[in-house]
Structures are given as structure tokens and as C-alpha cells.
């Protein structure tokens, strides 16, 4: 390439993104590597299906009981306690007649006073912001994590795709949420691409 190149110069990842990507990568490879390290089966020898199937079923029941309060008959503690560490963004896509009509979502922060900036962008190559909203994450929700009682803060809201600029069609969309914690800096999270139809 000569100096007449029309490509821009090399750039670093945006601030904080290198560490964040590395952190995700290491978490992902640790998750992928763990099953290889668990060689308990090798030490026990082959498991007979008559033992393996009920054991697998029992494990499933235990996992569901942990995740779904009241699954085994008890109602769980008051306050909608969560066992798992909550994701900063949980949402679901509600469709009617195959068309995306609503996206109920919850933004979760670690500290009171955190703010969130939500953007819906359209397109993969040349993304365009079609919706934007900012708000404070102030609803306190008691949680437990690793056996300890802690407080989380959430902002529940519903996105209506019909209200987005240009409507919501066959294009690819993505929701990006920038959470600003008062003492812990910023964190940007994003959904995968989705389409409205």
C-alpha cells in the first residue's frame, strides 16, 4: 500500500472496549474449557442408562428449582429474590402476527443513581439511530448473589417498535444500552441483531 491509501489509519478499540472484549473472551473460553477439565466420568467408568437417565432428570429438577421460585412447592422469599447474577439487560421480543410489537426490557445497575442511555440502531454497515431514551435506574430490587443479600437497581420499560423513526421493518436492528454507574464508570451492552418482521 502506498501513502495514497484511502483507508483511515489504524485505530485502537474505543476506550474500555479492549479490556471488556478480553474479559468476555476469557470468560467464554473458561466456560468452554470447563467441561474438558471435568473428567469425573473417566474415573467412574461408563454409567449405565438406568442410572444416568434418572440422575440427569434429578439434576434438571434441581436446576429448575433454583431458577424458578416455587417450582418445588415453596413460594420462595419475599421480594423476588434472584439466585443468578443478573444481566445488565434482560428483554423479550413480543410479536403479534409475526410482527414485533413490543420489547419489554429491564436495565439493571449495581448502584443507586446509575443512569442508562438506550439506543435502537438500524443497519449493520451504516447504523442509524432510530430511537433514543435516557433514564435513571432507581427501582430497588433485593437480590442474593453467592449467598449474600445485595440490592440491585432496575429500570423496567417497554419499547414500542412502531414509534421508531422510519417504523420497524425487515432491516436488522440492535439495541444498545450505555449504563453509567456513579462510582464504577460506564458499561455498554448490546443485543444481537433482530428484525421486526
Amino acid at each position: 500500500m502506498t501513502d495514497k491509501t484511502s483507508f483511515p489509519p489504524l485505530r485502537d478499540l474505543p476506550p474500555g472496549r479492549h479490556d471488556l472484549r478480553k474479559q468476555y473472551l476469557l470468560a467464554e473460553i473458561a466456560r468452554e474449557s470447563n467441561p474438558r477439565r471435568l473428567s469425573w466420568r473417566g474415573s467412574l467408568g461408563p454409567i449405565h442408562p438406568l442410572v444416568a437417565v434418572p440422575a440427569a432428570a434429578a439434576i434438571c429438577v434441581m436446576v429448575i428449582a433454583l431458577v424458578v421460585p416455587g417450582f418445588l412447592g415453596h413460594s420462595g422469599s419475599k421480594g423476588n429474590l434472584n439466585v443468578a447474577q443478573p444481566s445488565p439487560l434482560t428483554l423479550r421480543y413480543v410479536r403479534s402476527d409475526g410482527v414485533l410489537s413490543a420489547i419489554p426490557m429491564t436495565v439493571t445497575a449495581l448502584s443507586r443513581g446509575a443512569t442508562a442511555q438506550i439506543r435502537v440502531v438500524r443497519g449493520t454497515k451504516h447504523s442509524t439511530v432510530v430511537f433514543e431514551r435516557s433514564g435513571r435506574i432507581r427501582k430497588a430490587v433485593p437480590s442474593t448473589w453467592l449467598g449474600r443479600s445485595i440490592m440491585r437497581f432496575t429500570w423496567p420499560l417497554v419499547l414500542r417498535p412502531a414509534a421508531w423513526k422510519g417504523g420497524c421493518g425487515h432491516a436488522r436492528y440492535r439495541i444498545k444500552v450505555l449504563i453509567k454507574e456513579p462510582h464504577a464508570g460506564k458499561a455498554l451492552t448490546s443485543t444481537s441483531f433482530f428484525s421486526c418482521r
Binding site: 500500500m1 502506498t2 495514497k4 491509501t5 484511502s6 483507508f7 483511515p8 489504524l10 485505530r11 485502537d12 478499540l13 474505543p14 476506550p15 472496549r17 479492549h18 472484549r21 478480553k22 468476555y24 473472551l25 476469557l26 467464554e28 473460553i29 473458561a30 468452554e32 474449557s33 474438558r36 477439565r37 442511555q117 439506543r119 440502531v121 438500524r122 443497519g123 449493520t124 454497515k125 451504516h126 447504523s127 442509524t128 439511530v129 432510530v130 423513526k165 422510519g166 417504523g167 421493518g169 425487515h170 432491516a171 436488522r172 444498545k176 450505555l178 455498554l188 428484525s195
Partner: protein
């Protein structure tokens, strides 16, 4: 003394995530910029960067010559770009039917510069789109990312002679394209590759 790529790769192959993380620190920037230059979008390039390293980890059984880690990562990135384009193509037609809205800057602090980058890359990519996919792969690695012929060949799994001939064809084709649109002053990507 900093461990070499080969040492880090050997440790990664043994399942050492920290060693692999150091390889990420060392090569992420180049892979990120390579992905950007191939697709012209910083956000997607960042996603691809993760895919490339995740794929590299999954293929860690592979033995690599000591100085060929980066070319190998470029080779994976080339495949990731190809797969991304395949899925993106399906949405292009639908996208063209939707009304155009002026782009707004994204969250990043240097968003305006990055938008300019994307516009600049778009023009270059339009010109390079006239090359065949195979010619593009060679051109991007050899001319744009300035890999040697040997490393380009290693990245793409090609003989060096094939790299030379494809690059030569790509240059000739680009020269013709530039002349055809009357851009003798060459505002577009270089028509001459470096000599490694």
C-alpha cells in the same frame, strides 16, 4: 523478557487462558483494523474481533510455525468476514426498501472521526468490490495490511506464486477501474502494493 508468540501459543494450546489473553492484547488492534477495512464498520469489526479470537481458541489444537500466529489470525478473520457478508447480503435488499435516515453519531467519544473513517472506507470498498473475492483476500492482506507474500500465503493457505499472480491481477484490474472513472490522481486505494 516478553514471551514470544510461539511460547504464548504453546501455553494456550495447553489450555492456558491467560497466555491466550496476552496474544489478544498483542494482536487485537491489527485484527480489529483488518476487519474494519474489510467491512467498513467499526461496531461490526469489534464483534468480528471477538469471533476471530474465539475461533482461534477453538482451533488451538493447530500447530503453528513460531512467527505465523498473526497471519493465521488474519486467515481466520478472512473467513469470519466472508461468513458475515453471506448473512448480510440477505438483508441488503430489504434494507434498500426502507426510508433513509441521516446517520447520527454513536456512543463512542471519537464517534465523528469514526464516522468519517466509515465514509472513507466505504469509497475504498466500493472500488475494491470490483475485484473477485479471492483477489480481494490477497489484496487486503498484502497491500492494505502490508503482510509479506509469504505471510499472505500462509494466512490464506495458498502457494506464494498464487499470491503474486492474484495480487498482480488485482492491481491491473484496479488500475483499469480507476482510469475508467477518470481518477488518474488516485484518490482511491493504492494500485501498487508494497514489495515485501
Amino acid at each position: 523478557m516478553e514471551p514470544s508468540d510461539a511460547e504464548l501459543w504453546a501455553r494456550s494450546r495447553a489450555g492456558n487462558g491467560d497466555a491466550f489473553g496476552t496474544l489478544f492484547d498483542r494482536h487485537a488492534k491489527l485484527v480489529y483494523n483488518y476487519c474494519f477495512r474489510r467491512i467498513g464498520n467499526w461496531a461490526s469489526a469489534e464483534d468480528m474481533l471477538s469471533l476471530v479470537f474465539l475461533e482461534a481458541w477453538r482451533r488451538r489444537d493447530k500447530e503453528l510455525p513460531s512467527d505465523k500466529i498473526l497471519p493465521w489470525l488474519f486467515g481466520i478473520a478472512t473467513n469470519v468476514v466472508r461468513n458475515e457478508r453471506r448473512s448480510e447480503r440477505r438483508f441488503t435488499i430489504a434494507l434498500s426498501r426502507t426510508p433513509t435516515i441521516a446517520p447520527e453519531p454513536d456512543f463512542a467519544g471519537d464517534a465523528n472521526e469514526r464516522l468519517d473513517d466509515e465514509r472513507q472506507a466505504e469509497a475504498a470498498l466500493m472500488l475494491l468490490g470490483k475485484l473477485s473475492r479471492r483477489e480481494q483476500d490477497v489484496f487486503f492482506l498484502s497491500a492494505v495490511m502490508e503482510l509479506s507474500y509469504e505471510d499472505t500465503a500462509s494466512a490464506l493457505g495458498l502457494p506464494i506464486g498464487t499470491v503474486r499472480s492474484r495480487l498482480s491481477r488485482a492491481q491491473a484490474r484496479l488500475r483499469n477501474s480507476i482510469q475508467a472513472v477518470g481518477h488518474e490522481k488516485s484518490e482511491s486505494p493504492a494500485t501498487e502494493a508494497h514489495e515485501p
